[in-house]
């Protein structure tokens, strides 16, 4: 399969703001994304899973070149866009769109729905009459009444607003859509509607999704492959069922075991791995393996050497010194 997106060695570091830093001292950097490789085939959905501080949102925004990458390469549909200027990015944006988490914050409260949906079309230079037709078509596609174009975002419910945001993203017929936690701000009963819509649209319009989420249940519904991030790095990556049913990295295992199961009968029966503490501060990550401070398998090697992402099967890669020693005897 041809690849729509190839990312190699991507890094995004931000200067760390500290009130105590004097101007002449060297500034420390927060390594939000610290060496990420990933690729995405045409028509595929890759989910990036992680908790707060994992760098998943920064990764999404850097891939879209909303942030300038610190290092690495981003190749979209065969073209290296890493060094593209703002001007050269404009036509590229037709092929890469985004849907945000918060359906309230991502729609301009002072703009009519039609203006919101047609903004990408206008920027990409489509003529007004054509734009109007396209807006109606898009609203219908996402399950909204095309006559709603003259209303304002506040007149809609959360789920409807997210539909508007999806219509905006898909209006230019993009090849790649980055979805940053698109359902986590929605009520449970609405989440499923939006997930179904996204799955259906991807099939119909043969797009690829980069799906950012912290919710493994949601990810399972939509992803073909899953990459798990921790402190700016991918710690495990593989086909959906490999990662969810046979996780190799201790962090993935802990993450899965922390997800509440909707069956009270399993309380106490289920073996649970409760991690101690929180994700370390990305401004001051541990040496060696980033997960070692919370890992119950950590050895001396883990403190000194950062593990590489290695293949454990044709469809699964893991970055852990211990997990690559089969078989596990715990």
């Amino acid at each position: 399969m041809p690849r729509i997106l190839e990312v190699t060695g991507l890094k995004k570091h931000f200067p760390h703001r500290s009130r105590n830093t004097l101007p002449w001292r060297p500034r420390t950097m927060v390594k939000s994304v610290d060496g990420v490789d990933l690729d995405l085939e045409v028509g595929e959905t890759l989910a990036i899973v992680g908790e707060s501080g994992s760098g998943k949102t920064t990764l999404a925004r850097t891939v879209l070149k909303l942030y300038e990458p610190t290092a690495g390469r981003i190749v979209l549909d065969g073209a290296d866009i890493t060094e593209h200027s703002l001007r050269r990015m404009t036509p590229i944006r037709r092929n890469m769109q985004m849907v945000f988490q918060d359906p309230v914050g991502s729609l301009n409260p002072r703009a009519e729905v039609a203006a919101i949906v047609e903004e990408p079309l206008r920027v990409q230079g489509m003529r007004p009459a054509e734009r109007r037709r396209r807006v109606a078509e898009m609203l219908e596609l996402v399950g909204l009444n095309p006559g709603y174009g003259s209303r304002y975002p506040h007149e809609f419910s959360g789920g409807q607003r997210q539909r508007i945001a999806i219509a905006r993203a898909l209006s230019v017929d993009p090849k790649l859509v980055v979805l940053d936690e698109p359902v986590s701000a929605l009520d449970v009963s609405i989440q499923a509607q939006i997930i179904n819509l996204l799955v259906e649209l991807r099939r119909e319009l043969s797009m690829s999704y980069l799906f950012i989420s912290h919710d493994l249940g949601v990810v399972r519904q939509i992803a073909d492959r899953i990459a798990v991030m921790y402190l700016g790095r991918i710690v495990e990556e593989g086909a959906r069922d490999d990662v969810l049913l046979a996780p190799k990295h201790p962090y993935t295992q802990a993450l899965l075991s922390a997800v509440p199961i909707d069956n009270p009968a399993l309380r106490g029966v289920r073996r649970r791995r409760v991690l101690a503490g929180d994700t370390p501060n990305p401004a001051n990550p541990p040496t060696g393996c980033p997960f070692r401070t919370r890992c119950w398998l950590a050895t001396d090697t883990c403190a000194t050497t950062a593990p590489e992402l290695l293949s454990v099967s044709p469809t699964q890669r893991v970055s852990c010194h211990v997990a690559t020693e089969p078989p596990q005897t715990r």
Partner: protein, 283 residues
């Protein structure tokens, strides 16, 4: 729809209603002044000098608000002055809005060095003594209506720049601004289409209040002789003319003074009601 409900909201507030009426009166006076005025505002008449208003002894209904030391009809002159006040107030504020909003947007959106430069400029600007600037301009350009507008317009932009910058700083972090970049919009378009509509409400409110400030400032300048020059008539210069006869004919200064107070009070009340309606966040 939305606009109408807002207008109704403002008018439901007693202060807003009073303000709207005052503003309507000023505008009517400014536009239709010559047709409304009972006399030519510069027509002198030595027989009717220092006539008091009609309700006082010696007053006459021919000159409702009395006459000044040259026998000119005060009511006609106040009406004439409304035109100057409107022009100066609106034009000066428009100038401030144009400069202030542009600089505020740029500073808030780009941050960094540009922000630092613009905001330091604003600080420096506030340190320039406004009266000295006015005098300097009056000397260079010659005093008059348009140099008054220029002086006042040049002074007040800092207020707008500060407000717009602060709001831009927070709005630019909202996702819909990012969405506009995802759409491929250039920064200028993002600022105009996404950020500007969201700061507009505050700008409109502050601009309204600022108009009354400018009318007072114009009066002050004119009072000092740096502003409006004859044959133009401004409320400030009228007060200045009444200064010499304060003890004998106080109304010559009091009539334009009252007009000034009512006008600024009305505009301020209107602005407050507008703020409550449009943008409850600021102050």
């Amino acid at each position: 729809m939305r606009t109408w409900s807002r207008v109704r909201g403002v008018l439901r507030d007693p202060g807003g209603l009073f303000g709207a009426l005052v503003i309507a009166l000023i505008l009517i006076a400014a536009i239709a002044g010559p047709a409304l005025a009972p006399y030519d505002p510069s027509a002198q008449s030595l027989e009717t000098r220092h006539l008091p208003p009609f309700w006082m002894d010696g007053g006459s209904t021919a000159h409702l608000l009395g006459t000044d030391q040259l026998g000119r009809d005060l009511a006609s002159r106040v009406i004439q002055g409304a035109r100057v006040s409107t022009i100066v107030g609106v034009a000066a504020v428009l100038m401030q809005v144009l400069v202030g909003v542009t600089l505020g947007l740029l500073a808030g959106y780009w941050r960094g060095a540009l922000d630092a430069v613009i905001m330091r400029l604003a600080d420096v600007w506030l340190a320039v003594p406004f009266l000295v600037l006015a005098m300097a301009l009056a000397v260079v350009l010659g005093p008059g209506l348009w140099s008054t507008v220029l002086v006042l317009g040049a002074v007040g932009w800092v207020t707008f720049a500060r407000i717009v910058r602060a709001q831009t700083l927070s709005i630019r972090e909202r996702d819909f601004v990012l969405a506009s970049r995802v759409a491929g919009a250039r920064p200028i378009r993002t600022m105009r289409a996404e950020i500007l509509p969201n700061v507009a409400a505050s700008v409109i409110v502050v601009a309204t209040l600022q108009v009354s400030q400018m009318i007072i400032a114009e009066a002050a300048l004119s009072f000092l002789g740096l502003g409006i020059q004859p044959p133009d008539v401004g409320w400030g210069s009228m007060i200045a003319e009444g200064r010499d006869s304060l003890s004998s004919a106080w109304w010559v200064a009091a009539v334009p003074g009252a007009a000034l107070v009512i006008a600024t009070l009305g505009i301020n009340l209107f602005g407050d009601a507008l703020r409550d309606e449009l943008d409850p966040r600021i102050r």
